[in-house]
Symmetry: D3
Subunit: 163 residues, 6 copies
């Protein structure tokens, strides 16, 4: 039995049981979230990446991320289905890999962190899928929340240098 | 126009255009893949994690990962739909976080790397979702292929220390 | 041609044709529904059920039910897609089987009976799936609405003993 | 820790942990399963049911059941995705309600009991959805496997009177 | 780089990059759209079509269209997920084929043209699927928007004779 | 009751009832299908279409079509779920619009006409979605099968000029 004075996990009730939190009584407000991912690639892959002008892999990744954001509540068990009002995913070569930045917005009683993180993750996996023939050692180096606005817990912006 | 002597990205034809590779002529053979992810958590979260015996968040993550593996071809644009013959996801506390290990298998003309990686990613995102109320700075520290067997490109095992 | 003075089925227009009812003019209000299911199991299965502490089948059933509630409008042809604000599923051994109780809530122009019933049904089927190796004669003994609140047709609570 | 001499639940390994069973080494063979459900309706509903010739609710239920069979592995966590070779759902008025009979077939290493049961359940819920305006007390009286053929565990046919 | 004075495609920003438009600041209002499709059939198919009283193919097409409308945002990359408040699909023999008319409505910050067009398209493809054994030359002769109401761009009604 | 000597619709049994045809006894063989669609656009839209180098709308349409092919059996009620071995979609400006050509292949007991037609339809609808702000009168001028190979009914190639 969890100690009620201790901080509690998200989605857990006082009996230590997971459920989808009841947000019926919360008013819908505007919320945004931005997440990032970084796909570390070898020099050989980085050289080939820009040479497909008619089917840019960074574009495929962007669309996969946008599509995935809409499926978040099907994938993450305790997520509420949300009317997303905006999704954008950027993917660009930066240093030794591809940086993904995904933004989601809604007007709803709950936040969109998981939507932004899911978009970034699936976009990163798509980059992986399209480059894996050239390098099996590719690593998705991090996936993290960069910022969020709106909601009871207030705004958040990751401090300092990126991971 | 890509140079035909250069190595090519996966899913790209000679005209530099992405499509789902034609595997009609390949015979189905057994293939497996194992992927891992690591969710870095603060000491405060690690202390609370085991205190929910009736709805263990590591179990929720395992099931979310198993379910996600089956949706891989819906999420990753160029992935073929595959008859998965096995999916397993393990999640355990290790050092300063939770290590996820996902395994997928099929008897099919193409591999299951993306299925294992998708399972690991969604399991990691589920851990994130259930702990985010306690720590907004959580980082999914890596997602990577650990091993694969079967297929024309042969077996693969990541060398050296884990990322 | 149906008699207009007779009571009409849900989702049917005056011409006797099924469609998704137009709720554009109805204001969103809070609605809840609770449904139950009972999975009758043999003594042999009931003895084995609690012996899987690391992957409690009742927990797997709970998560499957929560996930299924979100897919209700994909499964039931005339159901509207709804922004669910809460889903909870309980599963416990009771007498000669497992009792499932599923609750759903929304703030929307239509009710959530089907979401609660779908969650209870899929949770019950999941119990079935995990015990079927031990007993092929398992019966899901009933699926029924226990209570609903909100909406024009008013509150409802099933009377008398449970089925 | 479960006793290894005791019978084990489906989908559980020796450590008492649920996963999707590995069927990679099993050969695909033909398998069929038939499941039934019974939706108990009041006399008032039974009188109205046949009066919608242009959108027969029994037909809507049949199609919903056929569609749901194809989604079984998305709904039931440990089910393998299967290439279904046949699905049929029958729905007819019988005694004090509607009897649903669903049949599924595949050529695959695992059985289709859950596909038949899911088809029957969703068809029954669809009948419920289309009649609920007339009677909130409707009960889905049973959902059960009637017969299966193929696979290592052999054929099965439910004995005696139907539930 | 696109000329900013030129008209812009939907879903494109000033940098010529596609994303899901941000509608967070727009108020939800009632919007409707009606789309049509025409499936041209041979005389032989038209003769057989009405002879299936127990499973009218026009009814199967209607239900497929209604179900598809709810999946629009999964299929069309830049579409927002919308709480549909109404979907109706009509299918009737007219001249040398089957005319489909699909209507969708919502109370939301964006329109439902794509939902109506998707419903009409999938209903037409379903007619195709059920008649293709008799005639491989079937053509879906047009899919077009007939009318829309609500939203900033105002009402629209297609003029003149239907395509 | 249909006349048994008359030609029968696809998916219909002797009692005139629709179901998913039983293909359990048919051996898997290679099958391909090619479908086309034509989206008629105004001169104003055709002028703007090529001006988005970083997010080519023809590329978005191609990916949407490829993704949709994999969802065919979820959308078209009587379609079998198939292990697609290849999907490709081409989209190019031709005359007064955009011509879509979609190809699908499988090794399976049933054909892939519906997969090719669904891919072409959703790609065409995506072009519509991205250009609709400039012209509400856009018409998808035809959707049709161009060719198929494999299967009992033999090869097919549309004769004469394209529609």
């Amino acid at each position: 039995m969890p100690d009620k004075n201790q901080p509690k996990l998200s989605h857990y009730d006082d009996a230590g049981q997971a459920s989808m939190v009841d947000v019926s009584a919360k008013l819908p407000t505007r919320r945004t979230a931005t997440a990032s991912a970084f796909v570390e690639l070898s020099a050989a892959v980085l050289a080939v990446l820009p040479q497909n002008p008619k089917g840019d892999p960074l574009e495929v990744a962007r669309f996969a991320g946008i599509q995935a954001a809409k499926r978040t509540s099907e994938l993450i068990p305790m997520c509420h289905p949300l009317p997303l009002t905006h999704v954008d995913v950027q993917a660009q070569i930066e240093g030794e890999g591809v940086r993904i930045t995904a933004t989601a917005a809604t007007v709803s009683p709950t936040g969109v962190e998981m939507e932004a993180l899911t978009a970034a993750s699936i976009a990163a996996l798509t980059i992986y899928d399209m480059t894996k023939a050239l390098d099996k050692g590719i690593v998705i180096r991090h996936i993290q929340l960069e910022a969020k606005t709106g909601g009871k817990s207030g705004d958040f912006a990751r401090e300092g240098a990126r991971a």
